[in-house]
């Protein structure tokens, strides 16, 4: 395995980020004390992180360098899974950041948006991760991606899988086995809560006396790299070496921070 410190993410060695968005019916509930629903806050946060990711890629000439490729997968509608891109990007899976920026579906508060809030159906989380596995496998085997930073899969959910926990564990085990020459696929999970963040679990390295679902999502998660840990500390979290990319019972602030930390690999 190559040394991660020698890797530079660039348009010739892009990084893939796959966002798995829980779009089940329960996401219509309000998010803590906010007037927004969880689905609305999630869409807003994803749009923000995509926008910030693009801003990081602006080159000296003002153009956007394709350093990141993004897939956004929604699960819930009709108890199924599909790409969450809309408009001109509808039906697409992995899209380079430059093309993303060229094809927003609208604008809110002066910034472009790409993802609309949706809350309908159940939570086929295993099917979502199966699709993430196939996307990551295809991406790693494409071109020179074997020499790129390993894909990052970020799952945002407010509940437990309704398809199969047993199969989900196996699917994620298979996903964890996918690797580039710079390491294995990163899998980060954040569970957001309507309850206002009570009993939140933030970037633990171990878990004790937790609920079944908390344990499940913890087991599915992989550790943050050193750069992400530093970033988390800068944002104000107490994060130890070996901490996982995992938050349980997160608030809206946790969601925004989590996406920022998880989407900044180096």
């Amino acid at each position: 395995m190559h040394n991660l410190s020698t890797l530079q993410i660039s348009s010739t060695h892009p990084c893939l980020i796959v966002y798995l968005l829980d779009q089940s019916g329960s996401m219509a509930e309000s998010f803590g004390n906010s007037q927004q629903s969880k689905a609305e806050k999630l869409a807003e946060s994803i749009n923000e992180i995509i926008f910030e990711t693009g801003l990081k890629c602006v080159g000296a000439g003002g153009d956007i360098r394709n350093r990141f490729e993004i897939a956004v997968v929604g699960y819930g509608v009709d108890s199924g899974v599909s790409s969450a891109w809309q408009g001109n990007l509808a039906g697409r899976w992995v899209v380079s950041i430059d093309e993303v920026f060229q094809n927003p579906i609208g604008e809110e508060n002066g910034t472009p948006i790409w993802i609309a809030p949706i809350a309908q159906g159940q939570t086929p989380m295993n099917t979502a991760f199966e699709n993430a596995y196939r996307i990551c496998e295809a991406w790693i085997n494409w071109g020179n991606h074997i020499d790129c930073y390993p894909p990052i899969v970020i799952n945002i959910t407010d509940g437990a899988p309704t398809d199969s926990e047993v199969k989900l564990r196996q699917t994620v085990q298979n996903l964890k086995r996918l690797r580039t020459n710079y390491g294995g696929v990163n899998i980060f999970n954040i569970h957001i809560s309507s309850g206002g963040g009570r009993d939140g679990i933030l970037f633990p390295s171990e878990l004790h006396n937790a609920t079944q679902n908390a344990n499940l999502l913890f087991d599915l998660s992989t550790p943050l790299n050193d750069s992400m840990i530093e970033h988390a500390k800068e944002v104000g979290y107490e994060v130890m070496k070996g901490a996982k990319g995992y938050v349980y019972n997160g608030t809206a602030k946790h969601l925004v921070d989590f996406l920022n930390i998880g989407s900044n690999p180096l």
Binding site: S10, D78, G80, G91, Q102, A119, G143, N144
Partner: protein
Amino acid sequence: MFKKPFSFEGRIRRTEYGLTVLINSIGIHIVVFILLVISRIIEIIIVGGADNHTKGHEEIGNMVVMIIGIPLYILSIIFGIAQGVKRCHDLGHSGLYMLIPFYIFFLLFIEGNTGPNKYGEDPKQLYQPQNLGNTGYTGGYNGGYSQTTPTDNNEHTQTNSGGFYNGGHNARINIQTPQQPNRPQRDKGEFNGNLYN
């Protein structure tokens, strides 16, 4: 129902297990009867008539019953145990619970766990209409980088990556995004193997 009758994984409902018990208890008797009839017919064919029937011919008939019957009997045992284990799973229990005397009555009458448990999905929910979209690859993808040797200072800066990636489109199902009348429609379907198209 009876999708994987000899599998020891997953869960089944009371109805399927009840039918299993019926098949094994009544069905086995029917099969034995049929085999006995077949064996007697074979004996008659061999000896050329019932009057010529001897003990040796009877053994031939018994052998036929055994050759066909024993494997069927073994299969029925495996079938019964496999279905019983899956019914135990539906109740959230290990298959070893079948060793408990009279546990079969629980298996026949007690409703299974609602929702998924550690042994698999709720078989009751599996029977409800669900549309999970396509689940397999329907095509590969073509194309490649047309860049020079990658270096840190040689980033590609093109503004439209569409020309690099070729591939086929698959059939799309358009659905109305709920409560978003002004939003563009989204396509539905699982990842089909076309990474960039």
